[in-house]
Subunit: 293 residues, 2 copies
């Protein structure tokens, strides 16, 4: 199967699964649920769920488990985007081709929809339908909590907001990207492998793959942001000046950043060698998700 | 032991436990951890942890389990206060006798510290040190996720922000308060009971107790806010007008609200009858935490 088709199919499956899992109600708190659905069902490439599913497929993991874990990962990713877009953070009016949640609803609704999606991810993981063994569910819950908590995603976002204060060098940016982007990508891969009872060796290889892919992926993101910069600057309605950001593009320029991205991508793919032809989709996904940047 | 002393001792124990559990680090993301500690260690009455511990004591639950669960509950409560105080929500400059987190640090730090505390609560619960049985840890995780998710605390906050839009009647306010305040109070009690392997009957009685106590507690809070209203109105630096709020005080006036609070308190205490003298501290706590309003 061609990678592009597989990515599209996976994205559709995740949207269907989210639609089925996210709660509905008819009371006035429907506003909150509508905002959660608006953000979570808007599409997006669903890269993290894809990685979770394909990591699990390497070890013939149970498909229901994988799909639920992948859905939880996407809830966390969506929460982080909603909070990131708030005026007090990156102040973005658009996300995934539609108004961001605080523009479509309002700021309190966006804040609370993000909070609720984060909590909901744990509700999904701890549920018996995710895996019959409670030990496994606890392990997944622990790993996700660490991945998005004060030594994970949230710390990465903090460093991102601090800008030049964290230091303007390659090590500081790598650390920020590892936390901000790597944490959740590594969780997605690790969780897929765990669900398939992968060996310690296999998990370590996937972790190294996730580490390099995460850094490359963030570089791709930074390069795309740079391409969109003209757009940014031409928005006169923006009230607050953009905070100064530090990333590989500001450090090494576009060419330098792109070269680094390609090195990381090749390095990431080499970590998949031990899985042989079974890892073809994961290997091809690397180039595909980095393309366009 | 006198209830006042017990509440103070419990509050101190929770602060010590939070101090021990909350992570530290020396990197630039220390800013995030400092903000989490600033909010979580600031004191407060620790009513929810107290309820969790005392519910557990009714059934001789393991003390380590209770203390860790109580700490997780307080992390969630602290997260909700930090987000609540943000300018985009209730815009409060002070909390627990000190500047609120976004005033002491800044808004992005406050947002992320709240997010990280929410995730950290799940990290505490799912950890093997909380309870040796993973089934129990999954159950606690599920209950906490439901208590603070889109059908719990977050939904209650949403209704609170919507103000008169939810309907200006007793049923609408009761529903809001049940979600906003009752969810976490009921979780604290239920978790303590679960840790002590309480019977279904006992758990139901505690749940009814929590329901009535939660409503009474929110009434006490609304009455205190009313007392502080003059202060609110005299703050000229406040940029955004306070959102219109609907609560029992706006519906029934101060006298009516106080009368309702006392009825609920008495009703709450009656649900404890089946526990006999063992529930003395819980019974006395009701009057104590409602006093001052």
């Amino acid at each position: 199967m061609h990678i592009e088709q597989r990515l599209r199919e996976t994205a559709d499956r995740i949207t269907v699964a989210l639609d089925a899992l996210l709660p509905r109600c008819s009371g006035p708190e429907q506003r909150l649920l509508s905002a959660m659905r608006y953000a979570a069902l808007a599409g997006g490439r669903r890269v993290r769920p894809f990685l979770c599913l394909e990591a699990g497929h390497l070890f013939d993991a149970d498909e229901t488990t994988l799909l639920r874990v992948a859905t939880a990962v996407e809830c966390v990713h969506t929460y982080s985007l909603i909070h990131d877009d708030l005026p007090l953070m990156d102040d973005d009016d658009h996300r995934r081709g539609q108004p961001s949640v605080h523009r479509q609803f309002d700021e309190p609704t966006a804040l609370l929809a993000g909070d609720a999606l984060l909590a909901f991810a744990f509700e999904i993981l701890a549920d018996i339908n995710t895996h019959p063994d409670p030990q496994m569910r606890c392990l997944l819950t622990t790993l996700l909590a660490k991945a998005c908590g004060p030594m994970g995603l949230a710390a990465g976002q903090m460093l991102d907001m601090m800008g030049p204060e964290i230091g303007e060098d390659s090590a500081a940016v790598a650390r920020m990207n590892r936390l901000k982007t790597g944490s959740l990508i590594c969780f997605a891969l690790e969780a897929g492998a765990l669900a398939g009872a992968a060996s310690e060796d296999a998990r370590q290889s996937l972790n190294r793959f996730g580490h390099d892919l995460g850094l490359a992926f963030q570089l791709a993101d930074d390069l795309m942001d740079r391409d969109g910069m003209e757009d940014e600057l031409s928005r006169p309605e923006r009230g607050r000046p953009q905070r100064p950001k530090v990333n590989y593009v500001t450090l090494f320029g576009e060419e330098g950043a792109r070269a680094r991205m390609l090195v990381l991508a090749a390095q990431a793919q080499r970590h998949l060698a031990i899985f042989g032809p079974k890892a073809r989709l994961l290997r091809e996904a690397v180039d595909f998700v980095l393309a366009g940047s």
